[in-house]
Amino acid sequence: MTEHHDYQGAKMGMWIFLFTEILLFGGLFVLFAVTFQRYPTEFHEASKLLDVTMGTTNTVVLITSSLCAALSIVALQRGERKRSEMLIGLTILLACCFLVIKYFEWSAKFHHGIYPGSTEIADWAPGKQAYFALYYAMTGLHGIHVIIGMAVLGWVWWLIRREKCTPDHFVALENAGLYWHLVDLIWIYLFPLYYLIT
């Protein structure tokens, strides 16, 4: 018996799901834009408190992980199963790096009492408070997406090992890759908006 696979359909379904993700983050980006327009000076001031070096490092880490995900598809298509597996592993490892850096960033801020509802920022101007509320909401939601992406990539890694994701049937890897690139795509906008508008 031959199994029926709709390659184009599977990919299109993934894209439709990604559109809902774009609209989810889109709503938050609109909120950011409108609040930024209302409190431009407060946003500039608050943004100076973020560590640009850490933000830039995370951008490099995430873009490199995206490259590894893209390369693993090429490897699998060429039948280089081991290399494909290794590249997926590297993608997950870089995702881990991203989260560790994010953890240090957040905990440093928490240590200085900068988090929504803290007594420390109660006297701050409303715009500055709004900046950090949005910062935690958006990078937090993005962080959840990183964790989900790691789980999905881990699952595909296992499929490749078990030869259930093969050079003839690699749509699982391709769709996991699409999800991972979306996570990268969102960070590409979060990075300049939060770190570089000083």
Binding site: K11, A33, P167, D168, I188, P192, I197
Partner: protein, 96 residues
């Protein structure tokens, strides 16, 4: 649909590494430019660089360049809807 037909689409390792290099250069540019005080232009430059980077990711890493017209149009429509969403919100907030 026969899957083996779609097996050999898309570029090789070299092109993706080239795209990655371009993304790295653009990241450097956006960080350096943010250090120079250009007032409102700073936001414009940062967003233009981000959009160029996003286009590179969507076109090459996400293979959109190699997809059929239907999928390309779908992605275009999704982003147009997002632009309308953002644009109309600003009509509202900018004139009150």
């Amino acid at each position: 649909m026969n899957e083996t037909n779609t097996n050999h689409h898309g570029p090789g390792y070299g092109l993706f590494i080239g795209v990655w290099a371009a993304l790295m250069v653009l990241t450097c540019i956006t960080v350096v430019v943010s250090g120079i005080d250009l007032d409102f232009l700073n936001v414009l430059v940062a967003m233009s660089v981000a959009t160029t980077k996003a286009l590179l990711v969507v076109m090459f890493f996400m293979h959109l360049k190699y997809e059929n017209t239907t999928l390309k149009l779908m992605v275009l429509v999704a982003f147009v809807i997002l632009a309308i969403f953002i644009g109309f919100t600003f009509f509202d907030t900018a004139y009150r």
